[in-house]
Assembly symmetry: C2
Homo-oligomer: 480 residues x 2
Amino acid sequence: MPKDVITTRAKDYNQWYLDIVREADMAEVAEVVKGCIVFKPNGYAIWEMMQRELDNRIKETGHSNVYFPLLIPESFLRREAQHVEGFAPEVAVVTHAGGEKLTEPYVIRPTSETIIGYFMAKWIRSYRDLPLLLNQWANVMRWELRTRPFLRTTEFLWSEGHTAHATEAEAERETLMILHDVYADFAEQVMAVPVIRGLKTEQEKFAGALRSYCIEAMMQDGRALQAGTSHNLGQNFAKAFDITYTDQNNTVQHCWTTSWGVSTRLIGALIMTHSDDEGLVIPPRLAPTQVVLVPIYKNEAERTKVREAVARITADWKGRLRFKIDDRDNLTPGFKFNEWELKGVPVRVEVGPKDVEKGSVALARRDVPGREGKSFVPQDGLTERIVVLLEEIQAALFARALAFREQHSAFVSTYDELKQQIERGFAWAYWDGNDEDEKRIQDETRATIRCIPLEQPGTPGTCVYTGRPTTRQVVFARAY
Amino acid sequence: MPKDVITTRAKDYNQWYLDIVREADMAEVAEVVKGCIVFKPNGYAIWEMMQRELDNRIKETGHSNVYFPLLIPESFLRREAQHVEGFAPEVAVVTHAGGEKLTEPYVIRPTSETIIGYFMAKWIRSYRDLPLLLNQWANVMRWELRTRPFLRTTEFLWSEGHTAHATEAEAERETLMILHDVYADFAEQVMAVPVIRGLKTEQEKFAGALRSYCIEAMMQDGRALQAGTSHNLGQNFAKAFDITYTDQNNTVQHCWTTSWGVSTRLIGALIMTHSDDEGLVIPPRLAPTQVVLVPIYKNEAERTKVREAVARITADWKGRLRFKIDDRDNLTPGFKFNEWELKGVPVRVEVGPKDVEKGSVALARRDVPGREGKSFVPQDGLTERIVVLLEEIQAALFARALAFREQHSAFVSTYDELKQQIERGFAWAYWDGNDEDEKRIQDETRATIRCIPLEQPGTPGTCVYTGRPTTRQVVFARAY
């Protein structure tokens, strides 16, 4: 397998991404189903790791998993005015079933606020039924025109949370708790992807939300990727679906609801944050295989000797490390090294006859390719050393991604500076424009306001576009 | 909550089932989406337990998880003649998407042999690519006329395995390995449901299969429930989708493929095997909550004392037991006991002020309701005692279900005996009839041949219907 199967990032960033998806054998475009991909074992295994980590956090914060129907009566979508406007153009419609034309068509869920809202209205009677904290792992469908593996596909997999509360303050607390404690924590601690926590502008918010919050990450081409959203839906869906409760004073009130989601696009974010020109790089906490051990030998005698050492070395790995021993006979060590590099396994251990004699092994870090990342260490204490190394790699990947983001972020005070900076990455700017100003900037620069960061300097300045005084800063960027 | 919220089995078995589903808060019929249910937290949690156990077995036997598109081009379904005949009448069809009429409609997958076959043909080149062992967790849709929660719903959740092999023998080995080591083992060891492993007749086999194997369980009304199927698809799909490989002699050959599946109908099988007139009964290995502890007190002083004891008693439960402490303040102990009985938690621990003084607790087994299942035991050694008790309950539930099946099974040697026996349960009979004989019996008795058991007596006898000599026995029953 020649090294140049992967286009360099410098040469063609988009092609680099597609090459990684293909060469790490993560997914394949399903050209017979518009805009869909097949999740292959290496791609799906990462999603399973993500699911496990997210599911733990979702359950630990008091939510229960449920499953609602895939199909939604078409009329449900129309009940919330902003919602239908946002989603009607991109739904897939079931008009026939069981050999007959349906009296009312169904849409395949693009998201489930409407169908879940309908049932919440049936289930919630009194303040004692609140909060209602639900989550579902499901497939959803949005008929997108331009698609790209993981990042934007017509069908995708996701977790969608839906909750109902007695007061606006509680709904807001839930929305922000999910943003901070579940999504940002997962992105930074597990994916090693630094994110900006922020509020979406009116133009960018979810169709039907009062306020949308998001986490935004920077990819290696300087573009932004929205990695998760959490919406305070206010009473919009509660009014559309009549979700009410009787409070302590026996008065009937509308609930306040929230919804939030993260999807398989996170796999795209993972690839574009950490990978390099050699292939995929997976942070250890998400890696389905954290360590691959490659035995090296030239003849049967060496093989026996090496195999004994490998059994001894790996004896206490089970339960502590997720590992593979690559003892395929028909392939050279070099071929194997290359393959595992392409596939992003964080640590490689090599054991040859000389290592057996010396009581050592060679240890290679995927995040530092080539000689620099290779060391020769004793077999004694190896397991503990690898456990520590994996945490080092996890931290190093986060630090590298954070440094990259900082190097590609700048404060801009004029529209010209803004135009220049969005060619490089994130442009932080004071902002006091309106929706129309925002649209005009988007038309002229293809950049959008990614978010109004929750952490604000608080100092006064002047709006980058209108020149009006304001204390509010926003982040502009081109986005996936 | 009065006890009579659940209809007795003797009075109305079908209503009993629906009452359990409702009162244990497992699911709700989604009347706005034809034949669908909402999986509520208590129902979905059981599915998650099942998924974990099945997924472990599927992975341990060498399969990788993947995910293929929900939508299948309509023409794919037509490529295999028996397959289209079996599934075309019950598919849901997407004719419009993204605001436009599609040039070719898609069907929502009723099962994925066709779309996966299409990709297998692209991925498999040589014998080195075989076997290809895939599984996916997915939702599927079959437009059924008569539906019932969990047992038969238009949309359901399942695991579907799809594999490709070089030879018929290997495909057959895979088909039977899944039947025995994954499905039957899971049903008996985890669900505590005894099953008969058998071969389906031609009439009952999967649309497109060479041979279909199944596991069949007996419900408490004596009817059979097919709890899992494993199909040797022969070369039918390989020929329809051109799934070929080059063998060691450089000759191009068609592959042999298999498929197999278990679904959320297993939740229905679980309910109908173990539950009683008091509510749901869940075997400990599948119970999301294995133990509920109910503290009992009348005043603040008692409450403080009991709470201290509870903290001490449960100190080492985490990681060893899945448990809940029901310290809700506004409900009586009796109400709580009743609720957890309805919901099927295997073991209840009661701790009151007298228990604190005596250093004891009350222990109640869900599988033996009332006084008989209650004992008073020392707090010392309680955790170990509960761990052992849970395994005892697991074994007792299996033994009870097995005894029930044996009591409701009989060998029949005449058609009249067969007609009588299927009113009670399973009828074992010698069989040498043809497809038409089988259909006639079904029309006359509403019973079908559930399977040709893999374990056969091997002794000669005469066919229950034709009187011809044969050594083959089959099992007749009415089925869900």
